[in-house]
Symmetry: C2
DNA sequence: TTGAATTTTCAAAATATTCTGAAAGTTTTT
DNA sequence: AAAAACTTTCAGAATATTTTGAAAATTCAA
């Protein structure tokens, strides 16, 4: 069936792209699978669909939850846990931006603060060193602010809904 | 010497951080070393400083050049090639943003275009599939535009110089 | 030219990451 | 309280990435 082929292609490509930017392939394949699935899926279904082990599914589902990209769903009368992806792609994008900010930018800012505290600018060399390190700190701060302000404007009701018009 | 300790710490930490976001550790260590070095360095000096092999140095220097983060310098009377980092951190940040845009966002947009072309929305399922894929495309496009406009405003003379005031 | 100095390449080794699967842990049902 | 249904953990295996180092290629000086 043509649709299944396209879905598989999407899931596969998505996984490959993810590795390019430091994200686990299986994690993004599971995410893609859940994004495309009209109903929520349990661990066995994911195992079967992507042909991966139970342990692998379990680990990556937990990672995806920690990124805020999927939710656990407890269906009445069912023992198994079901998972569904956040389908509002704007929410997904915001979530990813927030996490990357937290994981990539914040540690830079911290490291730089530490270094600034530990070196006293009492020679030319030290002053120059602090200048470069400080510059990097300023740029990291700028990136941090930029992401924050984009997130804020994105989050505001008006903009969110205006942009959503294009995604229907 | 206190300064050397701080430099080493910075180089080491920078390398570790980089691995977290999908960039080769050695590559970012070499970059950090060159950023902190007042004079340009040749391959032997980098080998000795970071205790890594010639091949590794060579590969990563070429990668750094392809990212536009370092330059080759030919010193008169010297056979060896010397390398220096772009010291204007704003330029560095723009360069990184551009490259990441090219390597991370553009492939997403391409993949999505392909899929959209290959699936005809003649059933509910296909329409839903195309809706999700299309949404992702819209978000990727939004990210692309956002980065572009930040880069543009950053690049404009006024802003660049205004922000530079803070980094002196 | 020749050959010394330097850079580049790439197969194999080292290292790091991801994945498996069975055992241990937990929750629910009987 | 025992068993069944399910989830989590984690040591070892599989896979992927990075690094080495010596050989090949290139560049330059004489």
């Amino acid at each position: 069936m043509e649709l299944q082929v396209a879905k598989d292609k999407f899931i596969h490509t998505w996984g490959t792209l993810a590795t390019q930017w430091g994200i686990n392939r299986t994690m993004s394949q599971i995410h893609a699978l859940l994004l495309l699935s009209p109903k929520s899926l349990n661990a066995d279904e994911i195992m079967e669909d992507l042909r991966i082990s139970r342990g692998n599914v379990n680990m990556n589902l937990r990672d995806l939850m920690s990124w805020g990209l999927i939710y656990k769903q407890l269906l009445p009368g069912e023992r198994k846990e079901y998972f569904m992806a956040e389908k509002d792609i704007w929410k997904v994008a915001r979530q990813i931006a927030k996490e990357r900010r937290r994981r990539e930018i914040e540690p830079i800012i911290e490291t730089i603060e530490d270094i600034k505290k530990s070196v006293v600018p009492d020679t030319v060399e030290k002053t120059e060193f602090l200048k470069i390190v400080g510059d990097i700190g300023v740029v990291a701060g700028f990136a941090d602010n930029t992401i924050e302000s984009v997130l804020k404007s994105e989050e505001s009701w008006l903009i969110t809904n205006f942009l959503k018009l294009f995604s229907r």
